[in-house]
């Protein structure tokens, strides 16, 4: 039997959320949801895990701090110490107050750009990538639930029957 994908189109985020809840209660696995803006509270219903991007940003940030400190030590203390306005340059620790601004800026620089790049790569959103939303209306005013038969034991007809019981505007099936 060929695998089928079913798209149910909804008019509002609240309607989609109650439909998703209904499906999940009936034991159907929802593959994904497409919407023109974030639907708050959908993640726990369809089992999307919390993103770890925040942790990644923190890691990039402390990498930036460490690199900045290493740079200060090498440029200003080790390689070519300079007496500038009598500021103590014997150890990094003594000269540190003057380095705080750049250390902060570089931390932010690494955290922001590291996080942004990770975000783009993880989302597979990069220049030239093809659009993969099933329906162009999902970036305008429609909210779409995607269910695949390969994820579920019920079979296509049973899933469509379940979706008919929700307030879906239309239900589209596709082979793939």
């Amino acid at each position: 039997m060929a695998n089928k994908v079913v798209y149910a189109v909804y008019e509002a985020p609240e309607v989609l959320k109650s439909a998703a809840r209904k499906l999940v209660t009936a034991g159907v696995k929802v593959r994904d949801v497409f919407s023109p803006f974030p639907i708050h509270g959908i993640d726990p219903i369809i089992g999307v895990k919390r993103t770890r991007l925040g942790i990644a940003a923190f890691m990039y940030g402390i990498t930036g701090t460490s690199l900045a400190l290493l740079g200060f030590w090498y440029f200003m203390i080790h390689d070519w110490p300079m007496n500038i306005g009598g500021k103590p340059n014997m150890t990094l620790y003594q000269n540190l107050p003057a380095f705080v601004p750049v250390m902060f800026e570089f931390t932010v620089f690494c955290a922001a750009h590291g996080m942004a790049l990770t975000y783009l790569i993880r989302n597979k959103t990069l220049p030239g990538m093809p659009a993969r939303n099933p329906d162009p209306r999902s970036t305008d005013d429609k909210f779409i639930i995607e269910v695949r038969t390969e994820d579920n034991a019920q079979g296509g007809d049973a899933i469509v029957e379940l979706l008919r019981g929700t307030e879906a505007l239309e239900i589209n099936e596709r082979q793939y």
């Binding site: 919390r50 991007l53 925040g54 440029f75 003057a98 750049v102 902060f104």
Partner: protein, 462 residues
Amino acid sequence: MHSESAIREPLILGHKTYHDITSDIVGPIENKAPRAWYVLLTISSLIALYGIGCIMYLIGTGIGVWGLNKTVDWAWDITNFVWWVGIGHAGTLISAVLLLFRQRWRMAINRSAEAMTIFAVIMAATFPVIHMGRVWMAYWVLPLPNTFGSLWVNFNSPLLWDVFAISTYFTVSLVFWYIGLIPDFATIRDRVTTKGMKRAYSILSFGWTGNAKAWTRFEEVSLVLAGIATPLVFSVHSVVSMDFATSIIPGWHTTIFPPYFVSGAVFSGFAMVQTLLLVMRKVMKLESYITVKHVEYMNIVIIVTGSIVGVAYITELFISWYSGVEYESYAFINRATGPYWWSYWAMMTCNVVSPQVFWFKKLRTHLGFTFFMSIIVNIGMWFERFVIIVTSLHRDYLPSSWTLFHPSWVDVGIFIGTLGIFFTLYLLFARFFPVLALNEMKSILKISGESYKQQQAQHHHH
């Protein structure tokens, strides 16, 4: 779903659907540009070209073509630099600080304010770069390995801190702005019908899908970027102020400078946002989204920051006397009564006295008056930087070197030119980019939309 108190005024007027929001914002991009747009673009790009010509003349001839002299060795160039950076601050304040405070009214204005930030920072960065004279050596400000005997940049210097602050600020603002734009570019991509536009917006939208996980990540990135952009924006103008404050010039050597500069920056930035948005909402018919309430909120920010600036002016005046340092106190007496008295009093009038009229509700909700005031504040803030820089320098410790600063035509040409480049970039943005954050506006439609609020109020009555 969250609901909002009925007392709060709606942020989206009339009855709009999600699709209306898309049409209202994407429509102007698909349709032919109005004639006024071409007229404005022609004027601003001609001015921009003149400015670029002046910059090329400056680079080809040398800094001597500016009006600088041995005593006043910083003048319009650094004034313009600080003025432009300050203008940029409003965009980040709106998009980052107001996001952390969960202010929904930011959503209608953050996209265009951030665009303004980016263009203003580009204009700002132009000045220190061309001030170097030999611009092709601009990369010397970076700590790069070199063959000049391990010659490194000086990390003790606020001027180098500025290099890092401005470049971090510019790139982070750009990324923050673009990440917000991606879903809206996808909306345009899925809507336009002509092949060329579809292709262009398809590339710009990076293949955005808008699935659940992508939106979760989107919100996380927005929140974290806002969280780190908030201290960043405060650090940037603090560092700019340290260019002055860490020196020992009377009039500059002041610990009050960082907070004073930051509030001044927000003050001037909001004024520029008003200047741009009041025109844009009218020309692009965005009155339902950028409402009088939005304008009023921004005017309230202008009174608050203007008053902080006023307190700072008076504090530094008082402290210059109270310190008992005669050089410091002379610097301030000279500002108010010396040959540059007119610039000091222009600054005082425009920045301290005039914003106080916004205590009257009638005036802060009057659009024409707000536009007029936004220009006044922009002029006042330019004078603030001029006063700080030129009046502190023109009479130094040796009376024999006392002098005045006279701008040359190149000084004027480059300043006017940056205004031209700025407005050209802004006009291009307004034509081809979604000027409101579509996805964010849609997410508050049912909470803050006028018709939805009325429905909710009726619902509560029964």
